[in-house]
């Protein structure tokens, strides 16, 4: 089948970005950014609290952590559930021992199913962010606006105080950032377009994107790439060191990475997790902050 005649038309071909949310601001050509609070670099730990149903829809695509074998895939259901029952409590213990706070991004279904977990997160002083309805509710352009709005409404109802949002599987439609702004979310963890907080302009006001590095995610490195626990920890510490090293030239930076309860919370990963947290804490001038505080430091 032949391509349409306009296939080589390029309507957005001009200087700058082809998305409506942010402009073109190359790192080497922009002003230094030095927050008044003296921050040099911020690292944010994101802990997703996810519900993986036994019978997920495979549209618009299979969530990376979703069921694999034919129904009933008890193997993957229980392996994921391990995170919410056991793994996350190891992460909470490690954070308490290191004296740091993180951003826990919860599905609405986790909030309703496991109130004890939400209580444990809040009572330890962590930020509770919204992470959509569940892993079976992926935002995508194939949804009508009212369908996507309903997902955000259900999440907002379950997590009324959250200011930070991460979409299930970090997937969006073209309209997601605007709907988030309208629902009162001011921070988004889906985009990773810069190494300092980046303002997304939407028809309903701004949302700040804090770079959530997919290439540092434990699922990516340890599950999909089968890298070693020590390599995983070293790369995250190196990202922190690299951000700090640029302070003199470019000013303060910020980044986030994901620790998944059913990945990082396994027994054989806890010693590397302690090394990772100790390595970040040992970097002079780097602060480990929840997303809400990291973004506020740049305000």
């Amino acid at each position: 089948m032949a391509l349409p005649g306009d296939y080589l038309d390029y309507p957005a071909r001009r200087h700058g970005m082809d998305n409506p949310f942010y402009g073109w601001e190359p790192a080497a050509l922009r002003a230094r950014r030095e927050p008044a609070c003296g921050l040099k670099a911020a690292a944010t730990i994101i802990v997703p609290l996810e519900f993986f149903p036994l019978d997920p829809p495979m549209k618009p695509f299979r969530h990376p952590g979703a069921m694999v074998t034919p129904y009933p895939d008890l193997r993957h259901y229980t392996s994921r559930d391990y995170g919410n029952r056991v793994g996350v409590y190891r992460l909470l213990r490690a954070f308490a021992e290191a004296g740091i706070t993180a951003t826990f991004a919860a599905n609405a279904r986790v909030a309703s199913r496991y109130p004890a977990l939400i209580e444990a997160v809040l009572s330890a002083g962590h930020e509770l962010a919204a992470h959509g309805v569940s892993t079976a509710h992926i935002h995508h352009e194939g949804l009508a606006e009212d369908e996507e709005q309903a997902l955000i409404d259900e999440t907002r109802l379950a997590l009324p105080d959250a200011v930070t949002w991460m979409s299930p599987a970090r997937n969006e439609s073209f309209r997601t950032p605007g709907l988030l702004a309208q629902a009162g979310f001011s921070i988004c963890l889906d985009w990773e377009a810069d190494m300092r907080p980046l303002t997304l302009q939407t028809p309903h006001g701004p949302v700040t994107a804090l770079a959530n590095y997919n290439e540092l995610s434990d699922f990516r490195l340890l599950v999909e790439r089968a890298q070693s626990e020590d390599q995983w920890a070293q790369q995250i510490v190196e990202a922190g060191r690299s951000h700090l090293s640029l302070f003199g030239r470019e000013g303060a930076g910020a980044f986030a990475f994901v620790l998944t309860p059913y990945v990082a919370g396994l027994p054989f990963r806890i010693s590397a997790l302690h090394d990772l947290l100790a390595g970040l804490k040992a970097l002079p001038g780097l602060q480990i902050l929840p997303a809400r505080d990291a973004v506020a430091a740049f305000a």
């Binding site: 019978d55 074998t69 396994l266 027994p267």
Partner: protein, 320 residues
Amino acid sequence: MTFSDPNLYDYWPYEGRPKITWPGGKKLAFWIAPNIEYYEFDPPPNPKRQPWPRGNPDVTGYSQRTWGNTVGHWRMMDLFDKYSLRGSISLSVGLIDHHPEIIEAVAARNWEFFSHGIYNTRFSYDMSEAQERAVLADSIRSVEAATGQRIRGYLAPALTHTERTLDLIAEHGFWYSCDLFQDDQPQPLKTRTGKLVSLPYSLEVNDVIAYSVQGWSPDRYTDILKRHFDQLLKEGEQSGTVMCIPLHAYLVSQPHRLSPFEEALKHICAHRDDVWFATGAEIAGYYRDNFWDMAISDIAARGGARPGTGFSGPEREAGA
């Protein structure tokens, strides 16, 4: 109609559970589970899963597994003897007929058997209730006839299940299931009848996950086993934990892997003061006798108890 939540167990946060102490005041219950499997050369098709990825015959896949029985399993028995370890055998029950010499060698060592189905190439998907019952009855009868042992554990063949599998296991007088991976401690399962314990089978440190899924090197697998053990032993001071090493001779007993693996056993066996070396039924039996009621009342006290039993609760929700 499908279920979003199997409702086989209730939510139970790891933090703050009442203390488990294993016999002799031990902190960690350790068991080791060699899978002695039989994969058929020409298995029948199953509508949900093709037995061999390349179709029948799959000579590399098939012959590697027969190597496991001809060579690998014997090497593993020698290694366990050296460390006085008793295995809990996840048995393809059909192997009793093909290789009775293996069964005799295992039984002579007073190891335990549990059922892993008849063949690892016959899947539970789409079985009728009568067929599933036949597999369980065959498993109990065949192992008892060959060894005198009444089996108490079950691991579904190739980890394939139906909605009724756990209920049927419980009804047939089994004590433990190795099919669920939600915890590092045992937990009562919500079956219609019986008293079935979910026994941690540590899938993430299974040699199939290590070698066939993750592609770890032998040294890395040993390193991970040591880290896993060290962490669970440390946590066992608060409340007793369980670690299993599920193995397959066709993988771990390969000439380039067995010696690195021995280093992990050496490390674990150097902690005999703190570790209860047991079999599946010994751990599950002790748990049923001492901690079953405690677990149920703690879950209820913490608000986790939900009504119903497996695949019959209120969570039915088509397509999420």
